[in-house]
Every structure is written in structure tokens, then in C-alpha cells.
Symmetry: C2
């Protein structure tokens, strides 16, 4: 499977790119700038090479990446996510699009969830990409730690979607990544509950002076 | 410390009553009906006695319980929580009131968070009990499993409040209960993020056929 990580040049994109490439998938790192995408793709390949691993990771401009891929992961900051979605609409038709987007505000030093009128970022994305299969997942993965291949963790990933096949494929992909467990959370309307966890994690990290926190359901 | 568990005759009240009594606290089980409160208090004492443990657990009508206690835990279903709060207002003045309340709706077979206009159940409680010290906690504890003293678990309890002292006291109480870890989540406004976890847990249980799920941040 060809998997594009749109806006995949940040920490969360890096972790996902490395770990998905390690599974033998073709990974396309997308960016607004081809140059940046290429630099990051090379950087990610080098990280895997230094570990004696091969990784099929290439860089592309976001539009090209979306067009080429079977699955696109939308790791784009929520401020630009919706306009980017509009511009990629045609390339993403009939394909799986995974939304890890979390709209947040900081008020009085604390993070709060700031959903759009659609109810959640994933539902807003679905309202724009009406012909794509939207899956909500990966919001609660601590980006920096996930990008560190030596990091120890064990996290759960709630996944929701209105498309059962797309959900199963996404869950399988997540389950194959080491130390992640995908859990079916139901239809896309549940995304607001998943997205809400991210600002809570940030507050808990802040208040308890913990560097990174993910979540486990047990 | 005298701790009242208002509406403490259900599973979540039972777990809290048993485990707080085991720590050596005086526990008052509150109910709308004194008779029911007394029956449950006796039942809880018997459970502890059968384990060779002593527990100072008595029953009272909710109003009496609130008046007697230093801390009240508001384990009342959210449909009755606010009207009960109105009626207990005077008894709870200047005292710590812990809110585990979660307003939920079930739509299309799935649970969603249904907060009041105040933003969360805890904030609505605070808007009624203006002279009490409201602490939000214990929403994500699976009630039945928590009531089973043989159950194995390890859960985190995010705690938030606008009153730092009340928050510290509540966190200490929770930390003293075996296998629970209290985590400071910030001010009361964060309660909406904590309360949101409960419907997500219910959906995850439902979709993945798991009997009970709590949460751990790691």
C-alpha cells in the first residue's frame, strides 16, 4: 500500500513515516514545498538506514502525494487543514483519509477542545471531502516520543469512521505498528470524544511536569 | 475525615464507600430514602467484615449526610444531580463537593457527551453550589469493577478544580486508594475534557466487547 503523510515534515509525520515504512509500505512524505518534502524523506530514509533497515520513503508536493497514494494521513495543523482539504478534494476521491486533526485553543494557560460546528475536525473534514472515506485516528499519539525509534511506550489508538472497511484497514495498519493497539470506537460522530483527549493530555503534562503522555484503556 | 457519598447506593457509590472506609475514613452513604441508605451501609459493612476489615459506614438521608460530612461525593445520576444540588445547597456551604457526574446521550446506539451550557456537569454544579469547593474527579472509574474488592486494575484519575486546596485534598484521598493514581488536570474548565472520556469508554466497551474499561495516561 502507498501511504501519503500530508504535511508529514513535523514530528508526528516523522514518527508515522518511519514506523509505516518499517512495515514495508511505500511512504510518501507530503509538504507544500517539494524541496522540504524531499529533504525530510531523505532524512527519514537515513534514520532507517543507520539501523540497517530499508525504507521506501519519497517526498512529493502534497497534491502529488495525495494523488499517488491509496491512503492519506492528514497531519496538517488544523488552521490549514480545511483549506488544504478543499484544494486536494479531487485527488482524494474514493480514498481513505485518516484525520489525526485536533482543533484546540489555549485559555488562561490551559488547553481546551475547540471543535468546529460540524462537531469535530474529522466530521468537518468529511463535510469537505464528501467522496473520501474519512477515518479518525492517531490524535493521542505523543509526536516527539513516537518519532524516537528507541522510545518505550504502549499506547491505544481509538479509531472511528462511518466506513467499516476503511476503519478495518486503518485499524490493521495501526495494529501492525509496534506497541500500538487500535480500538474500534464506532462511527465518525465519536471523533469529538477522541479529539477531546489531546488537550487533556497537554494539560496533564503541563500540570504534572510529564514530558509526554499517551493513553491506554484497560 | 467524614465523607458522604450522596446517592451512594449504586455500584460506583459502593466501590467508593468500601475503598474509602478501608482507609479508615468515616463514610456516610446517602440516599433519598433513609431506609435504603441504611440497608446499603449495612451491606457494605458486611462485605468488609467478611474480609476481616472494619469499616465505619453508616446510612443517612442525603440532606443529613451532606450536613454531617466534610467532603461530599456527588454520585447522583445527572438527571437528578442539579435539582439535588439545589436542595442541598445550604448543607454543602464551604465544603468540598466532588463531581463524578457525566451528562450523556445515546444516539444511534452510541454514547455522546451532552454537556450543559455551563460547559460541563462540574461547572454547572459549581454554578448552583456557589459557596462550595467543587472538584471534578472519578468520572472514568468503571463502577462494577471498582465495587469488586478482588478486581485487578490500575487506573488514573484526572482531577480538576478552581480551589487548589480542595484539589490537593481530593487527590490525596484518591491516591491513597489502592491502584488509583490522581493526576492534576488543572482548573474546573478542564472538566469537560475529563467528562468526555466516559462516553468514549462506553463506546469502546460496546464495539470491542470488553466488559469494563478505565483509563491510564502513560
Amino acid at each position: 500500500m502507498k501511504i501519503a503523510i500530508l504535511g508529514g515534515t513535523g514530528h508526528i509525520g516523522m514518527g508515522i513515516a518511519l514506523r509505516i515504512a518499517m512495515l514495508g509500505n511505500e511512504v510518501i512524505v507530503g509538504s507544500r514545498e517539494l524541496e522540504k518534502a524531499n529533504i525530510k524523506a531523505r532524512e527519514y530514509r537515513n534514520i532507517l538506514e543507520q539501523r540497517g533497515l530499508e525504507g521506501d520513503i519519497i517526498g512529493m508536493e502534497n497534491g502529488e502525494a495525495a494523488r499517488e497514494a491509496d491512503i492519506s494521513i492528514f497531519t496538517i495543523p488544523y488552521k490549514y487543514a480545511y483549506s488544504t482539504a478543499e484544494s486536494l478534494r479531487n485527488f482524494l476521491r474514493d480514498k481513505i483519509v485518516i484525520s489525526p486533526i485536533v482543533p484546540m485553543v489555549k485559555k488562561g494557560g490551559f488547553f481546551l477542545y475547540d471543535p468546529p460546528v460540524e462537531g469535530s475536525a474529522a466530521e468537518k473534514l468529511a463535510s469537505i471531502l464528501t467522496e473520501s472515506k474519512i477515518v479518525s485516528a492517531l490524535q493521542t499519539i505523543p509526536a516527539k516520543k513516537f518519532a524516537d525509534l528507541d522510545a518505550k511506550f504502549e499506547w491505544d489508538v481509538p479509531v472511528c469512521s462511518n466506513d467499516e472497511d476503511a476503519k478495518r484497514i486503518t485499524m490493521k495498519l495501526i495494529d501492525r505498528m509496534e506497541k500500538l493497539r487500535a480500538l474500534d470506537a464506532g462511527p465518525l460522530v465519536v471523533s469529538r470524544l477522541i479529539e477531546s483527549i489531546t488537550p487533556l493530555l497537554l494539560n496533564l503534562m503541563l500540570q504534572n511536569k510529564i514530558k509526554s503522555l499517551g493513553v491506554k484503556f484497560l
